[in-house]
């Protein structure tokens, strides 16, 4: 009999692609709120192995571990795609370090219209948009597991200098208020 973390590993391995957290909980026969403990346990068990668990806001995926990059690269040279430009990186940074952002938040922080950068990131599958749970008229963008994989990170909290560069809740609320004030009701 497999333990829940081992069952999760098997599921993710069999899926071969990102699995929705909701779906994973269902297949494991556990409640969604119990999943985070299983995720944590599996991450721990995989520490120092050749395979790592990558966790985005909505999905889970198995990937080769950061230390294995040099080996795996030999097999998959073609996947290394071109760098992002400055605008793309800034947009990705706002979304990453805020743990997700709406389009107006990105514009607010960068001081320029970020539509073109957002579009490229969406097309490259580095960010995904979903209805904001707090306000269903808005879309909140978060990093995909693919974006984390390009950065060599298992989860957003591993971002470099995360504590220092992540925006506190206060700044976020200010940004929302500012954006709301300038945005007429749709």
């Amino acid at each position: 009999m497999l333990t829940p973390p081992q069952a999760l590993e098997a599921l993710l391995f069999a899926a071969g692609e990102p699995l929705e957290k909701k779906e994973a909980a269902k297949l494991l026969g556990i409640k969604p709120e119990q999943l985070s403990r299983v995720v944590e346990a599996l991450s721990g068990e995989l520490a120092g192995r050749g395979v790592a668990l990558v966790e985005s806001a909505n999905e889970l995926e198995l990937r080769t571990s950061p230390a294995a990059a040099d080996y795996a690269k030999k097999l998959r040279e073609s996947e290394l795609s071109r760098d992002l430009g400055k605008a793309g990186l800034e947009t990705l940074a706002v979304i990453a370090y805020r743990g997700g952002a709406t389009r107006s938040e990105v514009d607010w922080v960068r001081g320029v219209n970020s539509s073109a950068s957002m579009k490229t990131l969406l097309l490259r599958g580095l960010i995904e948009g979903r209805e904001d749970e707090a306000d269903r008229r808005r879309v909140r963008y978060t990093l995909t597991t693919d974006a984390l994989a390009y950065l060599g990170l298992a989860r957003a909290s591993e971002l470099p200098r995360y504590g220092e560069l992540a925006e506190g809740a206060g700044a976020l609320i200010a940004a929302e208020a500012a954006a709301a004030a300038e945005t007429p009701a749709p």
């Binding site: 790592a52 290394l80 992002l84 107006s104 001081g111 320029v112 995904e128 390009y150 971002l159 200098r161």
Partner: protein, 247 residues
């Protein structure tokens, strides 16, 4: 700020500034200052010079650059003439600018961190195994659900393309603001003129050149406004938040 980080990627001098915040922060960092009133006042002139000199000016952002110039001038005015009382709205503009600059400073630093690690130690996905295909349609699949899905996707795209234009801010308010500010600075100078003692002459000169600067910005604002007749000037705040789900 970590001084050991390579920053060459972000200081290609031939590249046009993408947005006003980038220019403001570069000027402040050149002077090794922190984002505060003093720093903002000290870069105002330089900011305006850059804006005027920039040939490859991103058309869409002209309005934003002028707007930021106006706010910087408020800060500069206040630093030169402490008697000048800012209205609540003006003070809010100044506070808002400082907050946004702080947020952008962090985002820019974060972007440098991401540039450093992006693609360097990639986590590779599982190798593709030949899929076992079996025909499995779903309950939600029908000719009409396909039509609805495509119509919805096309409508969402049309909305994204359309939204920026919907939020055009009239440029005239900036010009008006400049004029009001110039008038108020002149008045404040006249009022406090007698208080100037020994170094008065120097200070008057500073303020006179500052007024000339204001005049330049006014002209810039007018030019930008005229440009608006030929093409839309877009303000950055879109809330074009309708986008199809990823997947």
């Amino acid at each position: 700020m970590n001084p050991t980080l390579p920053r060459t990627n972000f200081h290609i001098t031939t590249e046009a500034y993408q947005g006003p915040f980038e220019l403001v922060l570069d000027l402040i960092e050149e002077r090794k200052l922190l984002v505060n009133d003093l720093a903002l006042a000290s870069i105002t002139e330089e900011f305006i010079k850059h804006v005027k000199a920039q040939e490859h000016f991103p058309v869409e952002e002209t309005a934003t650059f002028v707007e930021i110039a106006a706010t910087l001038l408020l800060v500069k005015s206040k630093s030169l003439i402490p008697d000048l009382a800012l209205t609540e709205e003006e003070q809010q503009d100044v506070d808002d600018l400082k907050r946004r600059l702080e947020a952008y400073e962090k985002a820019r630093e974060a972007a440098r961190e991401l540039a450093r690690i992006f693609g360097k130690a990639m986590l590779f996905e599982a190798g593709a195994r030949a899929p076992e295909v079996s025909f499995a349609p779903s309950k939600d699949l029908s000719a009409s659900s396909l039509a609805e899905a495509l119509a919805r996707a096309l409508a969402a795209r049309a909305e994204v393309e359309k939204l920026p234009e919907a939020r055009v801010k009239p440029m005239i308010t900036i010009e008006e603001m400049m004029e009001r500010l110039a008038a108020r600075v002149e008045q404040a100078v006249n009022l406090s003129f007698k208080e100037f003692s020994g170094s008065a002459k120097e200070k008057v000169e500073v303020i006179v050149s500052f007024l000339a600067l204001l005049e330049l910005v006014k002209q810039g604002a007018v030019a930008a406004e005229q440009f608006d007749h030929h093409g839309d000037i877009r303000i950055t705040h879109t809330s074009a938040d309708s986008a199809p789900a990823y997947g």
